[in-house]
Symmetry: C2
Subunit: 120 residues, 2 copies
């Protein structure tokens, strides 16, 4: 679970503590090589398992299943299972997941600035 990096000897003021805590939580939830991309792709449209393996070349089924499960456990995505054959499952964002989109957007904005700054 999350480690909050507090110093128990010289505990910082609660205001600071809350900032540390909030930041660390978000960092932990997004920790995983494919998670930001997964959230972004799912935000574009509901995605199926197989489709995600096609969108994310190089990802293995094992790690895809694991990271999807972690995102689900953290309440960012939900899956809908259609009772058909062959099986069909769709992943969509929860409300909490939707609220994460501004974070993704700001990260993308900064990435572009970074690229610009490196091209000089």
């Amino acid at each position: 679970m999350a480690k909050f990096n507090f110093n128990l000897d010289t505990l910082p003021p609660s205001e600071i503590r809350e900032e540390i805590c909030s930041l660390t939580i978000t960092q932990n939830v997004l920790q995983g090589r494919w998670k930001p991309l997964l959230i972004w792709y799912i935000s574009l449209q509901p995605q199926r398992f197989g489709e995600l393996t096609r969108l994310l070349p190089g990802i293995s089924k094992g790690i895809l299943a694991k990271q999807l499960k972690e995102l689900e456990d953290d309440g960012l995505i939900q899956k809908e299972i259609f009772d058909e054959l062959p099986f069909k499952v769709e992943y969509t964002l929860t409300d909490l997941g939707e609220q994460l989109l501004p974070v993704i957007a700001v990260m993308q904005d900064w990435g572009k600035k970074y690229i610009d700054s490196r091209q000089k």
Copy 2:
């Protein structure tokens, strides 16, 4: 270096590609257990090496030096060396590092939402 997760067989449109690229870059730059916290602390005021070891209990000197160096190499922070004895070094954010603060802020906002949603 950064891996951009493109599928070379079915290359996505350049617009999509840029979003993937930007997002992945930011993710890579912030990858490291202490980096977001380091940037945040340094943004509050210029920080010295020893002060950071106090602010981040549990971090070892080795990993602190390493993550600071990576942040410096990525152009997010700069260090000023004072020619005194004992040695004194101060870390400050670069312009590029300052531009990262909105990302940190949005992450903190979302962390608070996450905490609220879990307390119900």
